[in-house]
């Protein structure tokens, strides 16, 4: 176990996001997420632990398409945690909101109570084409039907690197490719940063400190719910579109 002082977190620089969906694909293959077929999308049962939402900013002539990657915010006061009757979702001592698949009985209560809507239910038994069964990640459980799942910050990578660091007697190097979740590694524009928010020397902690100040670009998603997320978004307020709120039309 890593020290209990760790607080894993992510910083997402929305200004850099180009909406390429690279993170989505990386997540898909790292975490053994079943193929999201067209049929599954039509059923509205596709599973994307990280998704890229597109929204419009500004009124018609000056309209801008914006993208925002949304994943589990690993809230410190997570609304999904108290409602689970069997502790299938709980907060671990590294500040992460984790899902225990074996305990889950599939009440879907947590999914309803997540304001970010990042929890997914396995409506079907997952299936892969014969040719892809050998590409499954051995470090990640394949989830059966009837249970919830969601972004884990690629906990298997964190565990492996910290185990290896402990074995070799090294400091856990922050922001190394081995530690980073798949989405962070896949991002071509360095939109995503991952690290320990409690370690003052880490990149994310520095970014958080700098950007969450009064003149910084940092904000939490949907602060009105008071969930205190561990994911920080960075976005420069566009003066030209300040008056009109961003719309999803």
């Amino acid at each position: 176990m890593a020290s209990t002082n760790t607080q894993w977190g992510m910083v997402i620089d929305v200004d850099k996001c180009i909406g390429c969906q690279g993170c989505v694909v990386a997540c898909q293959s790292e975490n053994n997420i079943p193929i999201n077929t067209e049929d599954l999308f039509n059923q509205r049962r596709a599973i994307e632990w990280i998704r890229v939402e597109r929204y419009w900013e500004g009124e018609f002539p000056d309209v801008k398409a914006r993208f925002i990657p949304i994943l589990c915010q690993h809230c410190n006061d997570a609304p999904c945690e108290p409602v689970c009757p069997v502790f299938a979702t709980y907060h671990n001592n590294e500040g992460m909101n984790v899902q225990v698949y074996n305990r889950c009985i599939g009440t879907r209560f947590c999914a309803n109570n997540c304001p970010y809507h990042v929890r997914f239910f396995n409506f079907w038994e997952p299936e892969w084409p014969e040719t892809l069964t050998n590409q499954l990640n051995p470090d990640v459980t394949v989830r059966s039907r009837g249970i919830m799942e969601k972004c884990t910050f690629c906990i298997q990578r964190i565990r492996r690197t910290s185990r290896e660091a402990a074995r070799d007697g090294e400091e856990l190097s922050d922001d190394s490719r081995e530690l980073n979740p798949a989405c962070v590694n896949a991002c071509p524009t360095d939109t995503l940063f991952f690290g320990d928010l409690n370690d003052p020397d880490s990149k994310v902690a520095k970014l958080a400190k700098e950007e969450m100040s009064d003149d910084g670009r940092g904000y939490h998603l949907m602060p009105q719910y008071g969930t205190s997320p561990n994911v920080i978004y960075l976005k420069k307020v566009d003066e030209s579109t300040k008056d009109s709120n961003g719309s999803h039309e």
């Binding site: 509205r44 049962r45 409602v83 009757p85 069997v86 599939g106 309803n112 304001p115 409506f123 009837g146």
Partner: protein, 458 residues
């Protein structure tokens, strides 16, 4: 006013035990038909177990659908029993006497249906749900999460089921003894066992009365807590905007009484039509229930009004979008109008007329309408509530129940009917001793030219 008929004890026995001592010709066909419907639903359940929850219409924004609606609906129906039995017993309303047992039995079977709807078929892995309804295994050091309303729920429902089964049983004992004395062979043994040596001594009567009153008083907090907790399944959540309202507990409770008492009225009419117990279930009783229902329905409507006022009061986009969806967008708009009309605007104005309240047929129609409306009410709370007209448009979705869900919804209704049918074959549905007690205890007082019904008080 009250067209009272004084009946002899023998006649009461003959009338009310007819369903137990003789098998009516329609009984077996009815049992077989409902049994087949029930088994079809069970088959659908097996198919869902085999394939996964994907066979339902549930999808990503709408995680809770018809099963949850059914759960809330049957918990609502189950509030009839205690409302009629406990509250009317404590307030000594005379007209409760012939209705109590039917209401209590309805409570028991609808609670079973509710349990069937929510933990059993609702969850993703029902084979593990027992670990949730009953305490988790200690050995692994993992206790259930008592902060979750889904733990409060089974605790409250199981308590309520236990209490109302006891309620039925305690009121049944004197009648069981009556059947025991008229039965022979192995049935006699069965009833003798059930009657637990009842001989009708003063001490036994006293204990039975005390047990009834104690249970009435103790079950009332359970009665209030059950549906409050069911409402908190929804209301404690912050993400679906429409649910996070403090009014939910009283709103659900009064709605439950509305649909439950209506269901009892429906049942009373059916009892009159099927067994011809019109000497016991008189228009007077329907009249009293009708008047009670006017008050209940109007209170319910007031809470409905409060819920809406405060939904608009927030002026939050997500909440307003949800309300817009609920009221103005097809098909929800149609369902919404149907719900309002059936749950309130047809029945209540009709109940204002005495001739309607005293008519078996019209009470049957109006109370059935109420329950259609109340089912839709829960549907309109749960489904559009989860449809999230919130910040992320990728999550906007819709829902319609699949054939599998519909089969299972029908199954829960069939279960209640089947349970009631079997119960009436084994036990009298109108309490014999209560009717006799009422007959003994009633009197009349002459004031001037009027005769006023009166009752003997200790």
């Amino acid at each position: 006013m009250q067209e009272h008929v004084q009946l002899t004890q023998k006649q009461i026995n003959d009338d009310l035990l007819s369903s137990v001592l003789h098998t009516p010709r329609w009984w077996w066909p009815a049992v077989i038909v409902t049994g087949i419907i029930f088994l079809t639903g069970m088959g659908a359940f097996g198919y869902m177990l085999n394939q996964g929850v994907g066979v339902t219409g549930l999808n990503r924004p709408v995680f809770w659908g018809a099963y949850m609606v059914n759960f809330v609906f049957f918990i609502g129906i189950s509030h009839a029993g205690i409302m009629i039995s406990a509250i009317l017993r404590l307030t000594q309303a005379e007209w409760r006497r012939p209705v109590t047992r039917a209401a209590e039995v309805l409570t028991v079977f609808s609670l079973m249906s509710a349990l069937m709807a929510a933990p059993l078929v609702h969850v993703g892995r029902p084979w593990r749900a027992d670990l949730w309804v009953f305490p988790y295994d200690f050995a692994r050091g993992i206790w259930i999460n008592i902060r979750s309303p889904f733990i409060w729920d089974p605790s409250a429902v199981m308590t309520y089921l236990t209490a109302s089964s006891l309620f039925v049983f305690i009121a049944l004992i004197p009648d069981l003894a009556v059947i025991r004395d008229r039965a022979s062979g192995y049935t006699r043994k069965f009833y003798a066992l059930m009657a637990m040596g009842w001989r009708g001594t003063p001490r036994q009567w006293k204990l039975q009365a005390i047990a009834g009153i104690l249970l009435s008083a103790l079950v009332l907090p359970v009665f209030v807590s059950v549906h409050s907790i069911v409402s908190w399944d929804f209301a404690v959540q912050i993400a679906p905007e429409a649910w996070h309202s403090t009014i939910f507990a009283p709103y659900f409770i009064i709605g439950a009484i509305h649909s439950g008492v209506s269901a009892v009225a429906t049942l009373m009419v059916i009892m009159v039509w099927v067994w011809g117990w019109d000497k016991y279930l008189k228009p007077d009783h329907l009249d009293a229930i009708g008047r009670l229902l006017i008050i209940v329905a109007t209170t319910w409507f007031f809470f409905f009004f409060l819920e809406w006022v405060f939904a608009l009061y927030t002026l939050e986009d997500a909440e307003l979008a949800m309300r817009d969806l609920q009221v103005f967008q097809w098909p929800w708009s149609g369902l919404f109008i149907l719900f309002l009309v059936t749950a309130y605007f047809i029945p209540v104005p009709m109940w204002l007329f005495k001739s309607i309240r005293r008519s078996y047929f019209w009470m049957f129609v109006t109370t059935i309408l109420v329950n259609i409306g109340m089912w839709l009410e829960r549907f309109l709370i749960i489904v559009p509530g989860t449809m999230r007209r919130g910040e992320f448009i990728f999550d906007w979705g819709s829902y319609h129940p699949s054939i599998i869900e519909i089969l299972m919804v029908i199954m829960t209704f069939a279960w209640v009917v089947l349970g009631m049918l079997v119960f009436t074959k084994l036990f009298p549905l109108i309490p014999l001793f209560d009717i006799k007690e009422g007959m003994v205890g009633r009197d009349e007082i002459r004031i001037g030219r009027r005769i006023v019904p009166a009752s003997i008080r200790e």
